[in-house]
Symmetry: C2
Subunit: 157 residues, 2 copies
DNA sequence: CTGGTTACTTAACTGACTTAATTACTTGAT
DNA sequence: ATCAAGTAATTAAGTCAGTTAAGTAACCAG
């Protein structure tokens, strides 16, 4: 089984990395300014992750980077794109003007929720084929493996 | 939970995509010709997938591409790199000279096994924290989700 | 107010994929 | 026999998400 998992995981990774053009439609349907989404705009998983991370409230760039497991510059790019599309806004933290707080643009909270729903639905479709226990076990395994891969295997700390 | 999974999956994908320089050492230790692995050679998950796919015997490029879920040109590149490193060999299928059969280079079967072991060990470390039932459920969920993401969510066929 | 640190951005580059076009071979119809 | 169509692999060119390194602005301790 281990071999099959090792074979399957990267496939999942690639499949996951493909942009999801459909979600853009959802934006427009949900009332987003249509001009903000030019015909070829595509939303990558990273962008969705940013939107999800923001659901709990405004967030600094550094914090988002940590949540996503990517570098700060990469996060800056993700935020750039979403700002271009009018989904989110940057503003300075009044308490510490170095940090840039990222938050939904006014009225975009609902739109963001719908974009997330598209991906959620896709996932639910798969999870529905699992029992509750299986889903729980899957989640647990997912966390363990993500954690295990975060470390270089030789290091023990 | 769904949200957390949507947030976690791309992290896993990225973590998974990072090259694993350690495995090169394993090659050399296992007796691979050291010169075949220059200091900066790194083995990507795709390369390991090819090695795993070959474990069942020689394979055409097209078949490997299908197994990995990538295009044939991408597979050609992966094979190129592994041939450069002397891990595998190309030869023509005598039955149909269009197809290129890929197989381990002589004596590299064992080396390949060790490279795979490095990644396997990493995964086992995580799976050991799960019961057998949980591991089974994880595997099942993994397959379901990979399948679900392979389709565009709107299409029903 | 000066030197050091932190948060973010910019710039330049890399690697892994994609599609489109090419080459080499097979197959089946005339 | 040979020609047209189709398939396997490759080459070529371009894209995109990530990286590191360097730059800018703001905080803070002496």
């Amino acid at each position: 089984m281990v071999d099959e998992i090792v074979l399957l995981l990267p496939v999942l990774g690639r499949e996951l990395g493909r942009p999801v053009p459909l979600e853009m439609e959802a934006c427009v349907k949900a009332g987003a300014p249509a001009h903000a989404f030019p015909s070829d705009a595509h939303v990558s998983p990273g962008h969705i992750q940013v939107l999800i991370a923001l659901a709990k409230g405004p967030c600094s760039v550094g914090h988002i980077a940590h949540t996503l497991g990517v570098s700060r510059p990469a996060t800056t790019q993700l935020v750039d794109r979403l700002v271009e599309h009018g989904m989110i806004e940057r503003r300075h933290d009044p308490a510490d003007r170095r940090v840039v707080l990222v938050d939904y643009a006014p009225g975009m909270h609902e739109v963001a929720r719908r974009i997330m729903d598209v991906r959620r639905r896709q996932l639910n479709e798969a999870l529905d084929r699992l029992t509750d226990e299986e889903a729980g076990a899957f989640f647990k395994g997912l966390k363990e493996i993500t954690a295990a891969l975060g470390r270089v295997p030789g290091e023990e700390n």
